[in-house]
Point group: C3
Chain length 167, copies 3
C-alpha cells in the first residue's frame, strides 16, 4: 500500500491487525523506573520502545554495520508494534484502539554506523506499518535521528504520541 | 536585536518576514512516510526539518569538521525557516502565522564532530530568527543535542511545536 | 524506596524536598536564546537541563569513559533537580509544586562512550528522585538515549513535561 493511499477508517485497527495475522504482544516491561505509557487528557504518550519479541531484543547493533536497511526497518516496525501494544494497554485492550483519532508524532532513533544517513528509510518500516493499522489516522509527524549508542545496544528506539477520542 | 528585547506583537509575522525580505518556501516534501506538520487541537507539530533550499540540502557534514559555527547556525536558521513554512501551510499561508500564540518547543540535533560541544550557539541561529519573526511569542523552550549521524548527512535537524489561537 | 511503592501524595513535594534536606536551586540560566521553561495551558515544558551546581557543570565527559554508572546517575539526578527548579519557577516557587498533577515525560540524553548501553540505569538516577519528590504523580514515560556530543560536554541533558492542576 502506498503512503497517501491509506484506507478511510471504516475498519477498526483491531480488525486490520487480525486481517494481517498480528496479535499484539503484552505491554512491554520497562527497563527502569518509568511506565511504558500514560494517558494525559486525550493524549497517550509512550516511552521509548525497543525491538522486543517475547521480551527479548530481536535486533541489536548498528545499521550500516551489523544490519542492512531491510533488517533495521523490521526493527523499527517491531518498536512500533510494542508501542501500539502499550497504547492498547492504556485503552483496555486491542479493541480500544478504535478510539485512536490520530497518531500525532513518531520519534525514532536509529543506531547508526558512522556515515549511515538513511534513517528515514529505516523508520518507514514503522511509519508504513502504522498507516496500515490506523489508515489515514496513522499519518504522523516524525523525527528520524541517528544515535551511536542506545539502551541494550538496540538497533532502534521509537516513541509515539497518540490523540484519542474521549472515552 | 538582543534576546529579551523582542518587539511586542503589534506587527504580524507576515509583515516582519516581508520587512526582512523573506518569502517563505513551499512546505517541505517529506523524505518518507510521514507528514511535514499536523494540527492537533490548538497545537501544530512539525516533523524534523533539514536545511533545505529549493528542495536541496544546503548544508551537509558535521560542524567542527566540515563547517564552522557560523555556517552551522545558518543551517539551523534554514531548518527553522522550513519548519515555519510547514506551520504556515497548516494555517492556510503566511498570513495565518498571525494565529501563532507561542512557539512552545524547539528540538534541534546538530551533526557534530567528536568533541564539538557548542550546540547551543548553533541553535541560536534558529532561535534568534524565530524571535525576530514572532517577537516575544517566539520565545521557546529548547533541547540542543549533538548527533553523529543525521538523515542525508544534514548538518542540523530541527522540529517545532507551536500553540495557535483557535480559528 | 522501590519503584512502584511511591507514597500516595498526602505530603507535598515541598515537604518531601525539605525532609530530604534539599533546597531547590534558582531556575537555571539558559545557555542561549531560549527560556528555561514555559507554561502552555496546563502543561509546563522545560528546556534541556544540564547537571549544574551553583551555575557550574558538575559532570562533564562520557559515561563508560570518564564516569562510571553511579556518577552518571548522580548527573542525571542533578539535571532533574534543575528541571524541577525551572518548573517551580513557573509555579511561583517550591510550594507551587503541589499543583503538579503528573510528570508526563522525561527525555534524557546520556553522553556515552562507544559501546555503553546502560542509559536506562543512568536515567534511573533522575526517575527515582522524581518519584521520591512527587510520589506516584512522579511516575513518567521516558526516552533514554545515548549521545556522542552534548552542550558543554555535559554528561547528561534532560527535559521534562509536567501536567499541572489549573491555578
Amino acid at each position: 500500500m502506498a503512503w497517501g493511499d491509506e484506507p478511510v477508517s471504516t475498519e477498526t485497527a483491531a480488525a486490520r491487525l487480525a486481517a494481517m495475522g498480528i496479535t499484539l504482544p503484552p505491554c512491554p516491561t520497562p527497563l527502569g523506573s518509568y511506565v511504558p505509557a500514560l494517558t494525559d487528557g486525550d493524549l497517550i504518550v509512550t516511552s521509548g520502545m525497543l525491538p522486543l519479541v517475547d521480551g527479548k531484543l530481536a535486533y541489536t547493533g548498528a545499521v550500516g554495520d551489523v544490519h542492512d536497511l531491510a533488517a533495521a526497518a523490521e526493527a523499527a516496525r517491531l518498536c512500533a508494534l510494542n508501542a501500539v501494544a502499550a497504547v492498547a494497554s492504556e485503552l483496555g485492550g486491542v479493541e480500544g484502539l478504535s478510539r485512536v483519532k490520530r497518531v500525532v508524532q513518531v520519534i525514532g532513533h536509529v543506531l547508526s554506523a558512522p556515515g549511515f544517513d538513511q534513517q528515514p528509510a529505516v523508520l518507514n518500516g514503522a511509519s508504513e506499518w502504522l498507516a496500515a493499522v490506523f489508515g489515514e489516522r496513522g499519518r504522523h509527524t516524525r523525527m528520524a535521528l541517528g544515535s551511536h549508542a542506545l539502551p541494550l545496544n538496540a538497533t532502534v528506539e521509537l516513541a509515539l504520541v497518540v490523540r484519542v477520542d474521549p472515552a
